[in-house]
């Protein structure tokens, strides 16, 4: 065996150290934590492992203080750091700058932590929920100006209740600073005050995309809103902290628009029903009055009430005409019954009765409504709808 120039342990270790540390100055390593030990010195020691391997790790005290999550054995984490070699033990390790629970796990943990905190403060209490106005005339919308959510809401409002005014306050709904913008917009909309309620939201996206709506400052801005707030974030399955604080959670922006305004067709139907009932009842009262007058007929008192009735009937006719003009549009499907009613009403009018071939026999002392009231040989006036003729009443047939 040929003897080559040997190097010392220290030297080879130095070379390995240099090689590794130059090669891996900053890495992100994912694995499961074990042997987590917070040393009395304040440093953190741990082992990061997966199915096939393990690596020791250390985090120095100054960095341990910046940790936002509670670390424990078994937790899946991502460690950011440098690979270093510790010559005295001939070991390499990861010198961690930062450790965070991996991916969704971490977000989920933050979500749960904030949810617990705000719930404990009572921000989700039902008693806090403000009542939405039943017929808002102006609605504030806080969302992205370019997003599908705004377009969807505008479409729904156009269909259900185009008369409602929309006041849009555009914000960024994802990325750095989005939560701040949304919170500020909520405060601004309240300061503006010219709306009856606020819808805040955005269309669907990943959990990270929707994250602004899980931020504490948005939750607090919703809670602080004087105006009722409807949250409308993502899809049906997406639930955010904003949803818990809001006065109403809509599953989607489209649904939000549907929830806050009634459909005008439905309301027109309600109006049509009320209008119909009003007419029907008035007609009934009118008919009862007419029947009462009939009972009085033959008495001297007839003429005066009949004049009154005629006035009433005329008023009804005027309304009927006005109604047919104004209500025609929205009562299209009711028009048939309207015409029938109008026909019935005008049939009650004395003048129209005369048009149908009846006549009034008026003697000196009043109207003759029965044959046995007629005195043989007396004179009378016979009234047609278009005028009167003089008559001489002969003997009864």
């Amino acid at each position: 065996m040929e003897e080559q120039t040997a190097v010392s342990v220290t030297e080879i270790t130095r070379q390995i150290k240099q090689s590794l540390e130059t090669r891996y100055p900053r890495v992100w390593v994912q694995g499961e934590l074990s042997n987590v030990k917070f040393h009395t010195s304040g440093h953190l020691y741990f082992t990061l492992k997966d199915e096939g391997a393990q690596i020791s790790g250390v985090m120095w005290r100054s960095r341990v203080q910046t940790l936002r999550s509670q670390l424990q054995d078994g937790m899946k984490v991502t460690v950011r750091g440098a690979i270093t070699v510790y010559p005295p033990r001939g070991a390499y390790q990861i010198d961690a700058e930062h450790i965070q629970p991996s991916g969704l796990g971490e977000l989920q943990a933050r979500f749960e932590a904030l949810k617990r905190k705000l719930a404990a403060e009572g921000l989700f209490d039902t008693a806090r929920k403000r009542v939405l106005p039943e017929f808002p005339e102006s609605i504030g919308i806080i969302t992205s100006e370019t997003g599908a959510a705004l377009h969807d809401m505008i479409t729904v409002f156009a269909r259900r209740m185009p008369s409602v005014e929309l006041v849009v306050l555009p914000v960024r709904v994802q990325g750095t600073g989005a939560a701040k913008e949304i919170a500020a917009a909520l405060a601004d909309m309240n300061a503006f005050g010219g709306v009856n309620l606020i819808i805040v939201g955005r269309g669907g996206g990943s959990l990270e995309d929707l994250w602004a709506f899980n931020e504490e400052e948005v939750a607090r801005a919703i809670a602080a809103s004087r105006l009722p707030v409807v949250s409308a974030v993502g899809h049906e399955v997406d639930v955010t902290i904003a949803d818990f604080v809001a006065d109403l959670r809509a599953p989607t922006p489209t649904a939000a628009a549907e929830l806050v305004v009634r459909d005008r067709r439905e309301l027109l139907e309600v109006l049509a029903n009320m209008w119909y009932t009003t007419r029907r009842r008035t007609e009934e009262v009118l008919r009862a009055e007419r029947d009462h007058l009939h009972q009085l007929s033959g008495s001297y008192a007839l003429n005066r009430p009949r004049d009154l009735l005629r006035e009433y009937l005329q008023r009804m006719d005027e309304h009927t005409r006005a109604l047919e003009v104004s209500a025609g549009h929205f009562l299209r499907h009711r028009q048939e019954s309207t015409a029938t009613l109008a026909g019935k009403l005008s049939a009650l009018h004395p003048k129209n009765v005369l048009k149908r071939g009846f006549a009034i026999v008026r003697a000196r002392d009043g109207v003759r409504t029965r044959a046995d009231e007629v005195v043989e040989g007396e004179s009378a006036r016979i009234e047609f709808h278009d005028g009167s003729v003089a008559a001489h009443l002969e003997k009864r047939l």
């Binding site: 808002p136 100006e145 156009a158 601004d188 300061a191 209008w275 009003t278 007419r279 008023r315 549009h329």
Partner: protein, 80 residues
């Protein structure tokens, strides 16, 4: 168009409530002919007002902006 303002009170809601009251009075029975005709006239007038509001088809979409001085302004927004 600028200004801080308060939202209009919902006159629509008030009108609808009044209409409901009118229908109730008429349905209630003992109204005189005079009362019935007065209620009828009012009811027709109010339902016409409501219907006109609902029929108004022009959608108003405005963008709210705040200037450096904290003043709000509303500007018409193109219907996206």
């Amino acid at each position: 168009m600028t200004a801080k303002r308060t939202a209009r009170t919902s006159s629509f809601e008030d009108t609808l409530k009044r209409l409901e009251a009118i229908v109730e009075s008429l349905e209630g029975g003992s109204v005189s002919l005079d009362e019935a005709l007065d209620l009828y006239e009012e009811g027709i007038k109010l339902s016409r007002e409501c219907a006109e509001r609902l029929r108004s088809a022009e959608q108003r979409i405005r963008k709210l902006t705040k200037d450096a001085g904290g003043q709000f302004a509303l500007n018409d927004m193109n219907n996206a």
